[in-house]
């Protein structure tokens, strides 16, 4: 092949540029710390990275839901425990009241105490989380339990509904979160009111009968507490798995998008050597021609 001087110069430019371009690409990977800087760097990898990004975003959202649900359940459990505490105290008063030796005044005093405890129980049941009543069913803006007192008798009415609060805990899975107040609590409050009424009435036998009603109502309350505990456990499990998932997703995303520094450094050094070699070759090639020997 005939070799012209222009050809040598052009080849030199082309090769040096080429080596330089490759070097800059390796440098870009190293300095940005990413092997995918634009979708065109690796379209398939970009597709996977985008899916992982969505899953990460969803994971964050589901984690927020789980944390929120956890707090909701905490408030619910505290509320149910509070009601349970007052129920136990009222039962103790009922046991005292069932003693036939008490005077009417003493029973009235007990009835007043029961009335105060009912108010206390209602206050516990009307707990709110983030401005929402946790025991109103879906009527979260309506106070669930209201009391009316007439003639020393305290009665409690439920204002909420029986529809449970639901949350999407994991993709596509909508679960019941929270216990509607219609579940177990009206029976508890009505047993309390009944005891108060019978204490005022003074019939020991009826008071003893009320104790049985209270025990039955407490059984229902215990059931509600148990299911609240089960929901809390489920939410805790979801939180744990979301956290694991987050770690895995982050690692996967990083594996696709981020540069492997060891590999990137090796590539960079290889290309640097190539570039330096091409510069050396370009500098040395054809420094003289036959013209130099013409005399």
């Amino acid at each position: 092949m005939r070799i012209s001087d222009q050809q040598v110069a052009d080849l030199r430019n082309y090769e040096v540029n080429n080596a330089y371009d490759q070097l800059i690409q390796a440098q870009n990977t190293l300095s940005s710390g990413r092997q995918i800087n634009a979708p065109s760097d690796n379209p398939a990898g970009t597709g996977t990275a985008l899916s992982l990004q969505d899953e990460l975003a969803q994971n964050t959202a589901f984690t927020a839901t789980a944390n929120d649900s956890q707090s909701w359940m905490q408030t619910t459990t505290n509320a149910l425990n509070g009601v349970n505490d007052t129920l136990l105290s009222i039962r103790t008063l009922g046991v005292q009241g069932a003693n036939g030796t008490l005077t009417a005044d003493e029973r009235t005093a007990l009835a007043n105490q029961v009335g105060q405890l009912i108010q206390q129980g209602v206050q516990a049941a009307n707990a709110t989380y983030n401005g929402q009543y946790v025991l109103s069913g879906q009527q979260t803006l309506t106070i669930p339990f209201t009391t009316t007192t007439s003639g020393g008798l305290t009665s409690v009415a439920y204002q909420g509904d029986s529809a449970p609060i639901t949350r999407e805990l994991s993709p596509g899975l909508v679960s019941q979160i929270g216990i509607p107040g219609s579940n177990a609590l009206p029976a508890v409050f009505s047993a309390m009111s009944q005891l108060q009424s019978d204490l005022l009435g003074g019939d020991s036998a009826m008071i003893s009968g009320d104790l049985a009603t209270i025990d039955k109502a407490q059984g229902g309350l215990l059931l509600a507490q148990t299911s609240a505990g089960a929901i809390t456990n489920r939410v805790t499990a979801v939180q744990g798995s979301l956290q694991n998932q987050n770690t895995t997703l982050t690692a996967q995303w990083s594996g696709i998008v981020d540069a492997n520094f060891a590999q990137a450094s090796v590539t960079f050094n290889e290309r640097l050597s190539t570039y330096q070699a091409s510069l050396t070759a370009a500098g040395k090639v054809v420094q003289s021609s036959l013209m130099d020997f013409l005399k």
Binding site: S4, S40, N42, Q53, A57, L290, M291
Partner: protein
């Protein structure tokens, strides 16, 4: 019998021919780095011998009369030149294509888990999940409204950037047309000069180099086909769209409003009705980028925007806001450019429907359904998120392909240039070698003349004396 002084003449012709040959070498050496210069070669031929029929019978045969320069030709491979013209057109278009795709990629800034365009979409759906947890919380309602406005604003911005790029490409068209007209005018003028030179039997070497340069420049601006005529002139045509240069006549192009998209410019022949389709070169690249690359991207983005709006609105309009309002759309507008948060919602966030039934403040099931739209196809073949991901992946595939094509094209062009330079460019070694040869021949011819002179002077002086 030959004339006494014919030998002197023969030697003189040798001197003259070698002198011309050395001049040509000088010209080649001087232009060793002139772009587009084709090295020239002297074509030496023997002059006509003496062949008088009357003398022929007596003599030993035909007697030579020396040398002459028959022609000075340029070293040129017209086949490679045709390929270069084609490849130039491809290359400029590929460059524009690759640049455009890289610019589009920058709009979306993917993959990026914190600042990519996709986060606008996932933030929007995440906000709905937050609202589902606290359906009556004014701050969650405000977040949903804000994320909705952000998403709409992001789509407006992306659409605006794409349109801006379309306008930039469009604005270049006029300049390219002017460039084409200037070049075709110059080629036509050059054709005339070349025809005049070849008409008197000479080789218009330098003019032909100039012609090649102009056609090369033209082929970078627009894809053309060149047909070389026997008299050295070139006819240039747009592939399938008409003739730009025919002999000494050049046909000027002009810009007209595009028939389909009147806001854009199209190309037409001056004085002829109808626009023409143009391929290749920077001009073809600008038009392809504007109509296909950017236009296609806008269509995809508009479809995505319309799908987001319809999917969200279909659910939203069936639900109930915390103020009891129902039948209100979340988004207004149906394209990426016009999508916006419904002003009714922007004015009062409690209009955002999170509940499937009225008067159930704790019911966030509708908000949950909307947040699920991200991953659940709603009356559409794929999910909204998949539609976005597919758009970005396609952009990556196209970008990668354009880069590969560009790299391949650069390599092809480099090889063609290499071939062309191998044939046409000056080699100083070769010129030095030629110069030595011509110099030696010139020296020898002077010796021959000197001996002739000696011989004749001997004859005149000694015989005459």
């Amino acid at each position: 019998m030959t004339a006494t002084f014919s030998g002197v003449n023969t030697a003189l012709r040798g001197l003259e021919a070698e002198q011309i040959a050395m001049n040509v070498s000088g010209q080649n050496t001087a232009n060793a780095s002139t772009p587009g210069y084709s090295r020239q070669m002297v074509d030496l031929q023997t002059t006509d011998p003496i062949s008088d029929p009357a003398l022929g019978a007596a003599g030993p045969g035909q007697m030579g009369t020396g040398v002459q320069v028959a022609s000075i030709t340029r070293a040129h491979d017209s086949f490679v030149q045709q390929q270069v013209i084609y490849q130039n057109g491809q290359q400029s278009q590929l460059q524009t294509q690759s640049d455009t795709l890289a610019n589009i990629s920058q709009i979306f800034n993917e993959p990026n888990s914190t600042a990519g365009f996709g986060t606008l979409l996932s933030n929007f759906f995440t906000a709905w999940q937050g609202l589902a947890n606290n359906p009556t919380d004014p701050s969650q309602q405000a977040v949903v409204a804000q994320r909705g406005a952000d998403l709409a604003g992001g789509l407006n911005g992306a659409s605006g950037s794409l349109q801006k790029m379309q306008e930039q490409n469009n604005a270049e068209i006029g300049g390219f047309v002017t460039q084409i007209n200037t070049l075709t005018g110059q080629i036509a003028t050059l054709n005339q000069q070349i025809a005049e030179v070849t008409a008197v039997g000479q080789q218009p070497n330098d003019l032909k180099d100039k012609q090649d340069n102009l056609v090369n420049q033209l082929s970078q601006v627009v894809g053309v086909q060149a047909t070389y005529q026997a008299n050295g002139t070139v006819n240039v045509s747009l592939a399938g769209s008409g003739t730009l240069v025919q002999g000494i006549q050049s046909h000027q192009l002009t810009t007209v409003p595009d028939a389909v998209q009147p806001q854009f410019t199209a190309v037409a022949f001056q004085g002829q009705p109808g626009q023409i389709s143009v391929n290749g070169g920077s001009l073809g690249g600008a038009i392809t980028a504007r109509d296909q690359t950017l236009g296609g991207q806008l269509t995809t983005l508009n479809t995505l925007a319309a799908n987001i709006a319809s999917a969200v609105n279909n659910l939203q309009s069936t639900g109930y806001g915390s103020n009891g309002a129902t039948g209100i759309n979340f988004f207004v507008g149906t394209s990426a450019a016009t999508l916006a948060l419904n002003p009714v919602i922007a004015a009062d966030n409690t209009n955002i429907a999170a509940s499937s039934a009225p008067n159930e403040p704790g019911d966030g099931s509708l908000a949950t359904k909307i947040s699920q739209l991200q991953e659940t196809p709603a009356g559409q073949p794929t999910t909204l998120q998949d539609q976005y991901n597919a758009m970005i992946t396609q952009l990556g595939v196209n970008g990668q392909q354009a880069q590969t094509n560009l790299t391949t094209g650069t390599l092809v062009l480099q090889q063609l240039t290499n071939q062309q330079e191998s044939v046409s460019s000056v080699s100083l070694n070769e010129e030095a070698s030629n110069l030595m040869r011509y110099q030696q021949a010139y020296d020898a011819a002077t010796h021959v003349m000197s001996i002739m002179d000696q011989t004749i002077s001997d004859m005149i002086n000694q015989l005459g004396g």
